[in-house]
């Protein structure tokens, strides 16, 4: 059992980091092994923001192997060198935690595949997100702990999706935590509640097509599946609709891009989702109490039906 939440403001910006923290904290009983945020902040859209990790959080019940902290510095140096080789210029550098970094970079090439492959060829290094608006922050612990650790309360943006995880299919570590970046597409992220039963068949097929998996978490498949569909020219909504038959199992998932947010529910409607829609805000979560954390007044909500796909624009 995991919890997912998302919101999209239409026509304005808000403190989406703070809002999503409240929504996910309301769902912490659904799992607090790890919590992840995909926040779409207000930026000038010129430069890329790269969130990446050079190691794992080895505390708080982690299943990761403890490493000497010095390897983090070595990996960071290699990342810096590779960025230089790729023609990317680091404009701003933040080291939030020894293993977690945020770079603002000037990079003009559109193809992120080669870029990502080069960076992630360094053992222990994973790009959590790459985009001109998207920032994926994920770590062990509940929503409040992660929010405080990464100071997300003040982040202003238009939309966000997040995930409170109870680890069932894979380890308690950052690489298995949601959201997943829709590698190698800029600004695409996915969160999922459920279990996928044709993970390995799909994974083998997608890997043969050149797609990359960083974890053994079944949910990562959704991000890779949609990325592959979009790479082949499908729109986000088309890819999501195809996923209803292409993915087997039970799922409710959210996917976000630079200017949109979508949801899909499997054909058995086995996983919960409550939706609130108004002209200026759409909010959704595994339980209504998530929405109530930002809208305490009486509101009209509903459960989307089985096999339903919806996409909203900012």
């Amino acid at each position: 059992m995991c919890g997912i939440a998302g919101l999209i403001h239409r026509g304005k910006s808000s403190k989406v980091g703070h809002e999503l923290q409240g929504m996910l904290q309301a769902l912490k009983h659904r799992g607090e092994d790890s919590t992840g945020y995909a926040l779409y902040g207000d930026t000038d859209g010129k430069n890329f923001i790269m969130r990446f990790k050079v190691g794992e959080n080895v505390g708080e019940g982690s299943t990761s192997v403890t490493e000497d902290v010095s390897v983090y510095d070595e990996r960071k140096k290699i990342v810096d060198n590779y960025l230089s080789e790729l023609g990317a210029k680091i404009l701003k550098e933040e080291r939030i935690l020894p293993y977690s970094l945020r770079y603002e970079i000037d990079y003009n090439k559109k193809d992120l595949l080669n870029f990502s492959q080069k960076i992630e060829s360094i053992p222990g290094v994973e790009i959590l997100s790459m985009g001109k608006s998207l920032e994926v922050i994920k770590d062990l612990g509940n929503a409040k702990m992660v929010c405080d650790r990464y100071n997300l309360d003040e982040l202003v943006g238009t939309h966000a999706i997040g995930h409170a995880r109870m680890a069932t299919e894979s380890g308690v570590d950052i690489k298995s935590a949601h959201p997943f970046w829709g590698y190698p597409f800029s600004d695409v992220s996915v969160v999922h509640n459920g279990q996928l039963t044709n993970y390995w068949n799909n994974r083998r097929a997608l890997e043969n097509k050149g797609m990359r998996f960083m974890s053994e978490c079944d949910s990562e498949l959704i991000a890779v599946y949609l990325a592959e569909k979009m790479r082949d020219g499908a729109s986000l909504e088309e890819g999501m609709k195809e996923s209803l038959s292409g993915l087997d199992g039970v799922f409710t998932y959210f996917v976000a891009t630079k200017d949109s947010l979508g949801m899909a529910k499997d054909t058995m409607a086995a996983k919960p989702l409550v939706l609130y829609e108004s002209d200026d805000l759409v909010a959704m979560g595994s339980e209504e109490i998530a929405i109530r954390s930002i809208l305490p007044q009486e509101i009209d909500t509903y459960d989307p039906f089985d096999g339903e796909v919806k996409v909203w624009q900012i």
Partner: protein, 284 residues
Amino acid sequence: MANLKNTEKKTKAQAMGMHTEVLTGRTQQKFFNPDEAENFYYFGTYDVDFNKRTDLDVKDMTAAEANKEIDNLMSQGFGTIVIKNPQGKHSLGVGILNKLNLIFEGSLGYFGMGSCDGPIVRINGRVGWSCAENLMAGKVVIEKNAGSCFGAAIRGGDLICKGSVGARTGIDMKGGTIIIGGDAGAFTGFMMQRGRIIILGDVGINLGDSMYDGTIFIGGEIGSYGSDAVDSELTKNDQDWLKRKLKVAEIGENFDVSKMKKIVAGKKLWNYDNLEPTEKKGAI
């Protein structure tokens, strides 16, 4: 091996080697005497006055605290309780075994009004998953929408949602009536064993999948039929019953029930002949 057919009944278990001692002693079974009113005492019930009314603001309460306070108010004789600010909390109003007018001014989360026997409940907002699960008797009316597993395993009472409901409505239900004013999702009536479901709107795929018994009435379109769910003739009696039920439920009073579809179990999967104990008494 012992010949069980020819062995005395009281020694069968001993003949099979299950035990050797002779069982003696008094029975623990208690018998009711209708003349003795105290034997009809139902744990957790109170004498309440419907005209005695109070409000309860649960905004800063946990579900357990709110439910305990409802019980406390009933013990003081309050027969009408208005719950303010439920704010989507889970498990509110569960386990009420009393006659009671209970009004929620707002929405409930999961498992609202579960395992109740007798109250008349009106919820002005929406309810989450598994509303009124295991309802034995009473009436629960939801003014807006409801989540999945609406009325799971109910045995009696009327459960009414004026809006739309999610998937698996009436799953495993064993009696009572569920009435939906809007649409319903997939697997409506999944494995239902008795009772009736009325959906005025459309319904999703696998309607009545693996149902043992019971009846489903659909006013709109059907996504698909589930295993062993088949059409049946809508009789005049059915139509009269539907009209009465919709009128009492204050929902779809002018709905043209003659065009509704009636779905029952084909009984190829299951044969569910045994009556409930209470029904047996009536049949005898």
